[in-house]
Symmetry: C2
Amino acid sequence: MSKLDKPEKILATALKLFVAYGFHGTPTSKIASEAGVSNGTLFHYFKTKDELVVSLYTAIKEELNQYLAEKANETGDVKEKFRNLFRYSLAWALENRDAFYFIQQFHFSPHLGLVPDEEIRKQSEKHRNLFQEARDAKALKPLPPDLLMMLSMNQINGLFQYLTAQTVSAENQQQQINDVFELTWTMIVNPEKP
Amino acid sequence: MSKLDKPEKILATALKLFVAYGFHGTPTSKIASEAGVSNGTLFHYFKTKDELVVSLYTAIKEELNQYLAEKANETGDVKEKFRNLFRYSLAWALENRDAFYFIQQFHFSPHLGLVPDEEIRKQSEKHRNLFQEARDAKALKPLPPDLLMMLSMNQINGLFQYLTAQTVSAENQQQQINDVFELTWTMIVNPEKP
DNA sequence: TTTCTGATTGACTAATCGCTCTATGAATAT
DNA sequence: ATATTCATAGAGCGATTAGTCAATCAGAAA
């Protein structure tokens, strides 16, 4: 068949349909037929529909984390690290809108309960460490690192929603991404110079 | 029957179940039985399940807006207005966790498409005007008002998620709400003094 | 070739769910 | 008292869906 092997093709099709019709609004039969495989093949690779949903979530998260690990390298000062994390997260989100939307859709669904807590924490461990260390080095405000991270992540979500709702030119988009990063940075940076 | 009349009882039960099991994970029969009414009664008040979902959403939004209209009165300077909007939004969210969670769940579901765009905009019109006017008066940074509003709203969402994930004492909670409001304010306020 | 293993199919099923419908009850108006 | 209207019940129907299963196919191993 095509270049994608079948499990990947099934996941890609499921993503498209889940975003358009929701989890329960998308029958497995439709996923199978649109992916060009039979109903039985889908259940050969994924024991249940729930397992398919969770597999899709973890696959997307891994893809995002791998992308960030490649792009957002560790060079530069603290602000530069955060800038890279911010801008590359948004770059990935805008290039993979369905996937980024799906992450949030998943987070506000009962399926989230199917993923162990430790798995969830592990997925953001590197970023959490970044916030933890920067705060310990007094580069960030003396607030809980989890709170600082949560606020920064939600800045990304908010900007993503804004950018996908409007139609903005590519340059304006970059401009606004830069602007909002500066806002976010002044928000979390420690104003005292130690 | 109980003090709540039946449509309200049905909506309250649906909210609880939707948050726990998702829209499609909750059959109308279960809503009816847990609400103490028959299946037919449910469909007497709500023509379809979709209509029930949308009604629940608009009812919650109206309740929130009415609460804010009462509490966040218009006295005080600009910063005070925003502080009231911020803290009372969070107060309501923490007192009505299911309802606040449901709003986000609804926003990331295909049911959102069933609500006309103008209806959605109307629900946040007053807040949008607040941002618009404050920016026009050069009290806020010269960015699109919609963007400023989106970012501020997402600060509330992020803090809500943080506070509901942790177990924090009531005083610490108030402290953190104040802290995060100050962060948000320094983020959106215009640093130039005209 | 023969055998074995995993991939693939699609018809089938058992269960569920949204919604309808008829019958009855209760309340108010005439 | 009668009529009218709305509320309520709950059995039941038609449609849909997740998941199964027996049969076939393809390729590798022996």
